[in-house]
Amino acid sequence: MSDSRAAILGRILQALGHAARADAPDVLQRVNGHARGPQPQWAEADRERFLAKLAKAAGTHATIASHAGIVHAVTDYLAAQYLPQRVCVAPHPLLADIVWPEGWQVESRRARGDDRIGFAVAFCGIAETGSLMLLSGPESPTSLNFLPDDFLCLLPEDRIVPRMEDAWALLRAERGSLPRATNIITGPSRTADVEQTIQLGAHGPRRLHVLLMESAAQA
């Protein structure tokens, strides 16, 4: 394989006529400059933009005033969808101290193939496209985002950033580097592979429900 590496790089060098280095100063400067391309503009507030785009992508939402409203919002959602009170919850600090109603089956772990409902916390929301960004880690197993039929996601309102570039800036500032998986999720899973007809719930969640939390203060 190293022969291939030499052969490929050799041909590239020949075509470009310069020497290959991973740390050429101008390349490092370009990579770490993080210059942004043209930024799409909109008139409405970021929160409104986020919710409008989320709805366009067939995502739903409930607004809660604070952390204390989580249980109520989840209860409402399960009732509205006629879902069992069995939820797989991300081991996230924001979801750790919740007192779930008597009789509910709530487990804090990664998702399994037969989980109906997953509940996680977004790293941030992106107003431009109504997207959620989730970062894999001990407190956010990626399988939760994809295996359950219903994916519930908590998003503190002050975590809505305007654009993807702002999400990258936030990520660099708060985390330094990318986790194993950075998921930008916009609405539920869908496919148009049968006669171009859009059908939700191809392999991933059939429904995406955002709990938009207005105050970040935890009870």
Partner: protein, 472 residues
């Protein structure tokens, strides 16, 4: 996959006479075009993004060695492994080697055009592994034993009824049938069958829309979530990527992502855009233990700096297919290999050879609609013409068209002789038409007159009449 591009004319004729295929194509074409148009109309910044996207690709290609090495360095730092593969055989060998070392039996695969290009499924199956395509479109064509007919909608040539019948034959025991008629029923059927495969697979293979030099990440863009399941549940994740996919940083990827989804499906962003960076971390609850990137060249480094350099900007959105009148008429299979439409008519001869791919660059009116809609402003007509130039230089044209062209050029280069010959010809044809103004058939023009009348010359040539007018 053994290419049949040389038989394009026959393939095309069959496709045109296939009523079911025509029904499927008619439905697909309009949808893609309208959705893209609507998406662009909502983004006034699209043209500026297009300019910026092109500049990003041009810059990266001009420094491709640097960015690939930076990507390698960052990938390794994050715990991933990079495998350079010059040829499809080397790429398949690398994938197979990883699977063997992992003791793998079953592979869950996300959609990858590079995977199609190197025919990785064939290689894995030949080695005794079970490979399951998990993108619904790819799954449909896998069980139908067909190649994809579109780079983003692989089963676009199949009707709902055909897919239902396929699934019924494959999944259902007699007496155990679930209803399979509507689109939701078909999608649910695939969801159930493939869910088990995701959970059982040892290795997940996905493609990559972009590689990020800054972070050593690979990016996939999907709607179904199958790529993410393939990359999350199995023990090993292998990414198949080609060398031109690298971009400098996350901001660059953000520009290109805005262009890609709109140009491909008319979405602002797909349901899932995922950046993978290395294998699972120590405290992670899930994710693969190994993360491999197989970096495929397959002729691309030879395109760099040459006549086809600009083709390396391609981000595989499929807009050129959707807007091509030839693709819309005959579908993707007629092109006879992995990549159809205008981008395929450029790439196929470069990857499988001009002898095999010869008809593809010729099967275009050079109408320029592909270049117009290409988010990377690739001058596809110019590249198709360049392939025709190479074909002509190598003497690959059929003798009859060569002679006709040579005879025409002989006259066109000699105005006096041309005047005389054309006068003779037009007057003769005019007389033959008997004042009817057109021919229903002409012995040497059957290609034209089979379905159209041929308008007859009005009489004498313009040049002759003009001469008379000037010198009475």
């Amino acid at each position: 996959m053994k290419p049949t591009s040389h038989a394009f004319s026959d393939n095309a004729r069959r496709a045109l006479n296939d009523a079911t295929l025509q029904q499927a194509l008619a439905k697909a074409g309009v949808g893609f075009v309208d959705k893209r148009r609507a998406a662009l109309s909502e983004l006034p910044e699209f043209d500026a993004l297009r300019e910026a996207g092109r500049a990003i690709k041009d810059h990266t290609l001009a420094n491709l060695d640097h960015y690939l090495l930076r990507f390698e360095q960052q990938l390794v730092t994050s715990g991933g492994q990079l495998h350079w593969a010059d040829t499809p055989d080397e790429a398949c060998a690398a994938v197979l080697d990883i699977c063997r070392k992992a003791g793998a039996r079953m592979v869950a695969k996300g959609k990858s055009m590079v995977g199609e290009e190197i025919a990785v499924n064939d290689a894995l199956e030949a080695a005794g592994l079970e490979v399951v395509e998990t993108d619904l479109g790819e799954y449909i064509i896998q069980v139908a034993h067909e190649p994809p007919s579109h780079i983003i909608a692989p089963a676009v040539h199949k009707t709902r009824a055909q897919i239902a019948r396929l699934f019924e034959d494959l999944h259902h025991q007699p007496g155990l049938t679930r209803p399979l008629e509507t689109v939701p029923q078909i999608v649910d059927e695939a969801r159930q069958v493939l869910r088990e495969k995701f959970l059982a697979a040892d290795v997940g293979i996905t493609g990559a829309n972009f590689l990020i030099a800054e972070t050593g990440s690979t990016v996939i863009v999907t709607n179904e979530g199958n790529g993410d399941l393939s990359a999350t549940l199995p023990r090993v994740h292998i990414v198949l990527a080609s060398i031109e996919k690298v971009v400098p940083n996350l901001e660059d990827a953000s520009v290109l992502l805005r262009l890609l989804a709109r140009s491909a499906t008319g979405q602002e962003i797909t349901s899932y855009t995922t950046f993978f960076t290395g294998p699972r971390r120590r405290a992670d609850a899930d994710g693969p233990e190994q993360f491999h990137v197989v970096l495929v060249d397959n002729g691309r480094s030879r395109m760099l700096g040459g006549a086809f350099h600009e083709m390396l900007r391609c981000i595989r959105c499929g807009a050129c297919l959707n807007h091509c009148p030839v693709y819309s008429a005959v579908g993707g299979h007629a092109y006879g290999w992995v990549y159809p439409g205008p981008m395929g008519a450029v790439l196929t001869p470069l990857m499988v050879g001009l002898d095999e791919g010869r008809p593809l660059p010729n099967a275009s009116t050079l109408c320029g609609r592909c270049e117009e809609v290409c988010p990377m402003s690739i001058p596809l007509p110019k590249l198709l013409r360049e392939l025709r130039r190479q074909e002509f230089a190598r003497g690959l044209h059929p003798p009859r068209s060569r002679w006709a062209l040579a005879a025409w050029a002989f006259f066109a280069r000699r105005p006096q002789l041309y005047r005389w010959a054309t006068r003779l010809g037009t007057r003769l044809l005019n007389r033959l038409s008997g004042g009817r103004g057109r021919f229903r058939s002409l012995p040497f023009a059957q290609a034209w007159t089979t379905a159209r009348d041929l308008p007859a010359p009005q009489g004498d040539t313009f040049m002759a009449q003009w001469q008379r007018r000037k010198q009475p």
